[in-house]
Amino acid sequence: MVFPPVAVIAVFIGFPVVAAIAYTLGRAGGPNSVVASLGQRQFIVHHGVTVGAYRDILGNATIHRDLWATVWVTIVTTIVVVAVSWSIALYLRLADSRLARIVSALSVIPLFIPVVIASYAILIFYSSDGFLKTVAYHLGFHGFPTLGYTLTCVTLGEIWVNIPFGVLMMSSGLNGVPNNLIEAARDSGASMPRVVRSILLPMNVIPTVIVATFTGIYVLGSFTVPYLTGPTAPNLLGPAMSNFFSAFNQPQQAEVLAIVVFVLALGIGAAYVWANVRTGKRAGATT
């Protein structure tokens, strides 16, 4: 009796997705008739399908630049978030001092600050009259770059927003490693780096994969941070989608972009599924 949840998913997620995909392929009837009656520059067919909207978007040089910007920002953000949250979590796990607790508490603070406020703060902090540049100027470094309204600023913002989840996930993963495993290794003469490499790292693969995949998917579809702190062009696909949907009144193209982001996220999602399957197998092997 799994029907009710399945029905909820089918009605609220499945049906709109199918309708949206049909619209991107040129079918404007039924649930798409209202949006199609108002949109501009649509590719509509009454029989079969057309890939006109896809050709329009994928042949657009601006979108190419936005796509590459999105891919790069996603990759850099993911790598930095994984590295930073690993180090903070490891520090907390191994050195259970007051300083370690303060560091980990600070790293979770961004979770409690609304992204809009954070984005404005980040923009002002890195802008041409911002704190960073002012300090650099007083230290005699007059050529310090202005980071506000650049993709670097977007990346910094995305990292800032994603660090808390990474730290929480990694530290709970590392805390799950039993102390006696570490102590046994230490008793057999293993150095601390060796303990990290041979015990903590392999036992914390799943949280690492989860942090990497969720950060990647979040950045791919993000809107607020790139909209407020990023350059006019190229920017991430989130603001581009919003532009196509409202400012350009081209809902079909906006939905094509959404599918492009979906396909990118699907690739990342595959890694997550693989990791889950791997845990499932391991759990099956040990019990």
Binding site: P4, L38, S128, A233, F248
Partner: protein
Amino acid sequence: MKRKNLGAMLVIALVVVMATVAATMSSPSNAATKHAAKTVTINLYASGDVNVQSLWQQYLIPGFEKANKGIKVNFIFSEHGANDTTTLARIGAAVKQRKWSGIDVVDAGLVTTLAIDGLTQPVVKATAPNIANVDKKLLTPVHGAAIPYRGSSVVLAYDSNNVASPPRTLSALLTWIKAHPGKFTYNSPNTGGSGYSFAETVVDQFIPQNVLTQMDNGYVPNLESNWKQGLDELHSLNQYVYQGVYPNGNQAVLDLLAKGQIWVAPVWSDQSLTALKNGQLPASVHLLQISNPSFTGGAAYLGVPKTARNKASVYKFVNYVLSPPAQTQIINIMSGFPAIPLKLMPKAIQNKFADVSANSLRPTYSQKQSSDFKAQWQQTVP
């Protein structure tokens, strides 16, 4: 058996949730019918920057409700028009099915689209006597189906501390921008009307008048090749614009101007005059209109969807907005232009607008044409 119970519980839970949602959604109308004899509620949808919000929320609506006991105005605001497209779809779908859309009167850019698509009530059917005072020329671009209620225009703002002799024509402005790198910017056209107006004005200088008229009054995609020269000119300004960035929204440009980061920018007359009055812009910022061509401007329209409820009360509201006291408020609060002839306004207002009036403002492209223009700008300029 246990699983079956779980399923049944989920069904019950779902039904309860849906019933609650339905109840909360329908409760306002229940309340409305209960008090129908006493109170009528009008739903007003407006979009724009915060100045539009405060005009309705703090002045026009309280003023109307005070004068008309028994009519309540429910205010729905969409900042920067973020919900305009969905609202357009919502009203469009409802009117086509001859159903109430939940909105009785609209103040937003989408009104012109609604009017041209025949979804709003024609002005000739309106029961508001003050509509007779409105300039008939302003009804042409909206096929006589929307009511102009105020005018506003984009003007050039400059910081007089740093700019002694500001440019007064478009070509002088373009020369000034190139001579002062990093001291000018405009917001990206898809995020606000002031930057949009600058971009359209630069493009319009290369376009013959008969082509412009077609673009202002309709949607003619095959004339868009005329934009090429102007868009190239705008692209060449990239290296002179502040950080090569076009900020998002009208307000972002005013912020840069207030901080002294830029010295010259196109701004909305009403929004910047309000900011000057409140001290959000320093007094050293002055405004002027350029010529050859001037920046675009025009009327803001009210639209009444064909399926609006309580039309008599809605037009009472429209009539109030077009009355001299409300128009005076619009001018004082928003620094907008009146929609009714100056001779009906108080003497002080007449003097203020001696040389400019809402109907001599240069019109802007039709809604669909401007959507295409924003898309082409995004693709070719930054």
